[in-house]
């Protein structure tokens, strides 16, 4: 199954050319790091791949690297956020990950045109990290309430909340 993912990554790199930065393997499996502008092309290629069609966007999430300690390995990218797309091919039982780097304030292209599951996943990322998605049909907060200030999963958001009257300090 990991061989299939490797081959899919090869086809992806052939299709994307400069849009693909690197392909590597870690605890997740096969990961392709791509340019944000190449996302739609990459999703086209992977979803409609004939040998390994990735029918499902199993999960989409973000990581805020701003509090990454200096001595904790070399993984931290130059940009603040990473978006991780977890694609799964149910027919061939293969998983592949796409990763794009985003700077603070940079908007990401929305995957809602490719997968219906991206709708809520991107709403959650917007809610939790403040990352905006271009051409998302319904970019509202989803878990926090309307009018909530801040984005809780950012590393600079304190765990006990931003309003000390509402959230008593420990």
């Amino acid at each position: 199954m990991i061989d299939r993912a490797r081959q899919a990554a090869k086809r992806l790199s052939a299709a994307l050319a400069d849009g693909l930065l690197e392909v590597f393997e870690d605890g997740r499996g096969v990961v392709a790091r791509i340019e944000a502008t190449a996302l739609h092309k990459a999703l086209d290629v992977l979803r409609d791949d004939r040998k390994t069609p990735f029918e499902m966007l199993a999960h989409e999430t973000a990581i805020d690297w701003s509090a990454w300690p200096a001595d904790a390995g070399s993984q931290r990218p130059a940009e603040r956020f990473s978006l991780i797309y977890n694609l799964y091919s149910v027919s061939t039982r293969t998983r592949i990950f796409l990763e794009i780097a985003l700077a603070e304030g940079q908007a990401a292209p929305s995957a809602t045109g490719h997968y219906a599951s991206a709708n809520w996943a991107e709403r959650e990322i917007y809610d939790m990290f403040g990352i905006k998605f271009t051409r998302h049909p319904d970019l509202r907060r989803i878990l926090m309430w309307e009018g909530f200030e801040g984005h809780p999963l950012r590393k600079d958001f304190p765990r006990h909340g931003i309003n000390p009257q509402d959230f008593p300090q420990e």
């Binding site: 199954m1 870690d26 605890g27 997740r28 499996g29 029918e55 499902m56 966007l57 199993a58 999960h59 999430t61 990581i63 805020d64 509090a67 990454w68 300690p69 001595d71 904790a72 390995g73 070399s74 993984q75 991780i84 977890n86 149910v90 039982r93 998983r95 990950f97 997968y115 219906a116 599951s117 709708n119 809520w120 996943a121 959650e124 939790m128 907060r141 989803i142 878990l143 926090m144 309430w145 809780p152 999963l153 958001f157 765990r159």
Partner: protein, 405 residues
Amino acid sequence: MQPFPRDIDAGAPLDLHSERMKLNWGPSHPATHGTLRVLLELEGETIAKCDTEIGYLHRGKEKLAEDWNYNQCVNIMERMNYCSTVINNCAWHQACEKLFEIEIPPRAVYLRMILSEISRIADHMTAIGPNCVDIGVLTPFWYTWDIREKAYDIIEFVTGARMMSAWTRVGGLAADAPEGFEERVRQFVPEVYREMDELDKLLAANRIFNDRSRGVGTIGPEEALSYGWTGPCLRATGVAHDLRVASPYLAYGDMQFDIPVGEHGDTYDRIFVRIEECRQAARIIEQALDNLPGGPVNTGKRHVVLPSKDAVYNQMEGLIHHFEVIMYGPKAPKGNICYDASEGGNGELGFTIVSDGSAKPYRVSVRSPCYYIFSALPRLVTGRLLADLPAIVASLNIIAGELDR
């Protein structure tokens, strides 16, 4: 007495009040089975528009996890799907073990598998029973609750708690199964088969049940995949996808069992896939019991697992290790990132964990099955009758704790 004037407004056509009605359903409503809110626009009794609002049970688990160590986190992770906590326990620590790059001993593997399947039975019963009640079939509820209680009895017997079990640790289990465990489980298995047969009889030929569940909330396989559906709801659409088979973890690769699939992807299929899955779970439990190995339930790895009491009381190193594991928690390798998914009660329960080398995860992202399943609700209910809404929501088995995290 004045005669009633016959033609007050002879020219105007007779018209009924025909504006669409807005209806709010939830967040506290007996049929939502949790706190979720659905806003509806009704055309008569038909749902013309539907919007959902979630987050009423959001407890910020992913944020909390960044401040707790890997062993403490099991307490928050199991409070996601509170109907099958043991599966959550095992899924969380399985992901941790992948991050730590350690393997657990065979006895722990089998015990985790047995309890996960028992937990799965409890979860499916929790889904089916109230679903039947919602569509006007009360009797099956008592059958499902009976077997659920028996499942919880075993879980309580092994873990010490009915629901909030917190039974796993990085590198194994909090405790081995107590004496008498095997006999209890062996008594339980035939009861599962018997009660599933009874449920079958109660439901399959039940006119009310059939009328209210067949063709209700239908979805096709392609669309279900696009919405990110997994688990029994996906299998009901005819896709034989089960992570226990697709990427076997624990010892599922050695077990003989089938993946039940439905045909139409409707409420009826979702219920019957769950019933069949309980039978398959019982099969797995039987085989696992037959092959249950002896030996320890924890890896012997220092700094990760608590040392033996003998070492703690008699050796200085043992005492230090004990202190380290309790006070700081086990430390994950630096700069590691992993994704690991298990087949939860509702589908793929995955954890993306990023570690910076400390005892606490740098970032945890939970891929909760309910979240993606529930996102398809407007698609399922639009154009259906209002009365189908509770039937559909219950058949998806939306657990608000898992939905909102």
